[in-house]
């Protein structure tokens, strides 16, 4: 059982303020969907929690099981049990997927490598679960991958590394309906006493496969509304314009 608490988080990029005090609490077994217009700070929240070098934390804390992870290096945050499925995963030439995966597992197990006879069947099964091609293991990390392949590869890593809390940043973009279902079901199967997640998305569709326990709407770098699945329906039908009237907030879609 884990808890991630985001407390009054203020973040800027190159002196431009993006997040204006975000508060949130995510527990194992929960799925928190964050929705909102473009350019409102959703991805910034994900990147800032993981520790992307371009983002500056101006104020606030992010506690994972009581420890302020903002004081940790990126790799230490991962080892503490955090995982970010990135919107734009980097391509690393010359390093194969499986080689990278083994290195990451070894790093996570405090330098203890997983025996190859244990790793291979596990990795192959997970590739199969995600309906990816077998050659995936031997291809260079994300190099030349299609948008959909990159997203599946993020989930492949998520399943292999088994973090406590996952943040999935627009994992649905670039996926067709079938792929969406596969990815959704795979993530969904992880939700439980050992795993909870934050799901950043624009679309309702992924939420048909990963059922959110909480839905947040983010506008202008703040969570302005929190509710249940009903909120998703309302956004799907009416967009975000109604928020302006209902909450008296002004914003522009970027």
């Amino acid at each position: 059982m884990s808890t991630l608490i985001i407390k009054d988080l203020h973040v800027s990029v190159e002196d431009k303020v993006i997040l204006n005090g975000v508060n949130m609490e995510v527990k194992s077994g929960e799925v928190h969907a964050i929705m909102g217009p473009n350019g409102t700070g959703k991805s910034t929240l994900a990147s800032a929690i993981m520790g992307h070098p371009a983002y500056t934390i101006d104020q606030g804390e992010v506690l994972l099981d009581g420890e302020n992870i903002l004081e940790l290096e990126v790799d230490e945050r991962a080892k503490a049990g955090l995982f970010l499925a990135m919107q734009y995963p980097a391509e690393v030439s010359g390093v194969t997927n499986s080689e990278f995966m083994r290195a990451a597992i070894k790093a996570k197990n405090d330098g203890k490598a997983m025996p190859i006879y244990e790793f291979i069947p596990k990795y192959e099964k997970t590739i199969k679960d995600l309906k990816m091609s077998e050659e995936m293991a031997h291809r260079y990390l994300n190099e030349g991958f299609s948008g959909g392949e990159k997203k599946r590869n993020e989930i492949l890593q998520l399943k292999m590394l088994k973090p406590k809390i996952g943040i999935l940043d627009e994992i649905d973009s670039g996926l067709d309906i079938d792929a969406l279902k596969v990815v959704g079901e795979n993530v969904s199967s992880m939700i439980g006493p050992d795993f909870g997640c934050i799901l950043i998305t624009h679309y309702q569709r992924i939420l048909d496969h990963i059922h959110p326990t909480h839905v947040h709407i983010m506008v202008n770098g703040k969570i302005v509304l929190t509710g249940t699945k009903e909120l998703v329906k309302k956004i799907d039908e009416n967009g975000y314009e109604w928020i302006k009237d209902e909450l008296g907030i002004d914003f522009e879609e970027q």
């Binding site: 993981m50 790799d75 390093v95 996570k108």
Partner: protein, 290 residues
């Protein structure tokens, strides 16, 4: 099979088919040596050696120049590949000398095929690998990697001279510097006048792994003949920050992420090594100072 040289003398027995007359090591002709021959030149501070590979022979050699001494070390080495011979060769320079000098010349005769690898992980070094394509259809492929770490300063010259028509000379070299290490990598490819239908290619890559590291790469093509094909490319780059962040976000430390990325950049060069033991030795070597 090991050959150890100390003070110009052979220690122990020589493998069958190989003889030594100071300072020349003869590899007999028309012989295929299955096992990799490892030649070690021990802690001598002034050494020379000439290796002659006989006609139509095939051999794989690892030549190691290693020393933990810090005094000046000078090596003059030479390999002649007689007609139709095939040589796979790894030169390892792992010197702690504060003033190291290695000059290694290779001479390729008619139809000789040379795959040459150089691994330079020394403290202060001036190294030159120079291959001369002396007769028609000689083929030389050089791949060299220099790694400099804290306090290391290496200058590496890789030269290919086309002195006969219908010759092929290729080189792919990589310089890596971390800490406040420095590597100067010069690639020189020369096609002399009249050496028609020669084929020359060189690529030089520099990888800077820290703020204080220095890399200099100088690609030089000197071509005195029209009827040839030649190409070159040179790049110097840093390890990309977003890639490091990505790898670290999966739990790899900065150091582990850097080593993985550097090995990724070396992969095309290393994967092309035809001989497994050589490949393995090369990989371990270039990782020594990362």
């Amino acid at each position: 099979m090991d050959i150890i040289l100390k003070n110009h003398k052979i220690k122990g027995k020589l493998p069958q088919g190989i003889t030594y007359e100071e300072p020349k090591l003869y590899i007999q002709k028309n012989t295929k040596f299955e096992e990799t021959i490892k030649i070690t030149i021990e802690d001598d501070n002034n050494e020379s050696l000439e290796i002659i590979v006989g006609e139509s022979s095939e051999i794989k050699i690892i030549l190691e120049v290693t020393s933990t001494e810090t005094k000046a070390h000078t090596y003059h080495l030479n390999l002649t590949a007689k007609p139709n011979s095939k040589v796979t060769y790894l030169l390892i320079s792992d010197l702690n000398s504060e003033k190291g000098l290695i000059h290694h010349t290779f001479k390729a005769h008619r139809d000789a095929n040379l795959e040459l690898l150089g691994g330079f992980v020394s403290n202060k070094l001036e190294a030159k690998m120079r291959a001369e394509l002396l007769e028609e259809n000689a083929y030389v492929d050089i791949r060299a990697v220099g790694v400099s770490s804290f306090g290391n300063d290496q200058k590496i010259d890789i030269e290919l001279i086309h002195a006969a028509p219908h010759t092929t000379g290729l080189m792919h070299n990589i310089a890596i510097a971390n800490g406040d290490g420095r590597v100067v990598l010069n690639g020189v490819e020369k096609i002399l006048q009249g050496m028609v239908k020669s084929d020359a290619y060189q690529s030089l890559k520099g990888i800077i792994a820290s703020d204080d590291a220095v890399i200099e790469v100088n690609p030089i093509l000197l071509i005195d003949e029209h009827d040839v094909t030649a190409g070159h490319g040179a790049t110097v780059g840093r390890l990309e920050e977003v890639s490091l962040y990505y790898l670290m976000s999966r739990g790899l430390s900065k150091k582990e992420a850097e080593v993985l990325m550097i090995n990724g950049l070396l992969a095309p060069l290393i994967n092309a090594i035809s001989d497994e033991p050589l490949k393995e030795r090369f990989q371990i070597l270039v990782n020594e100072r990362l």
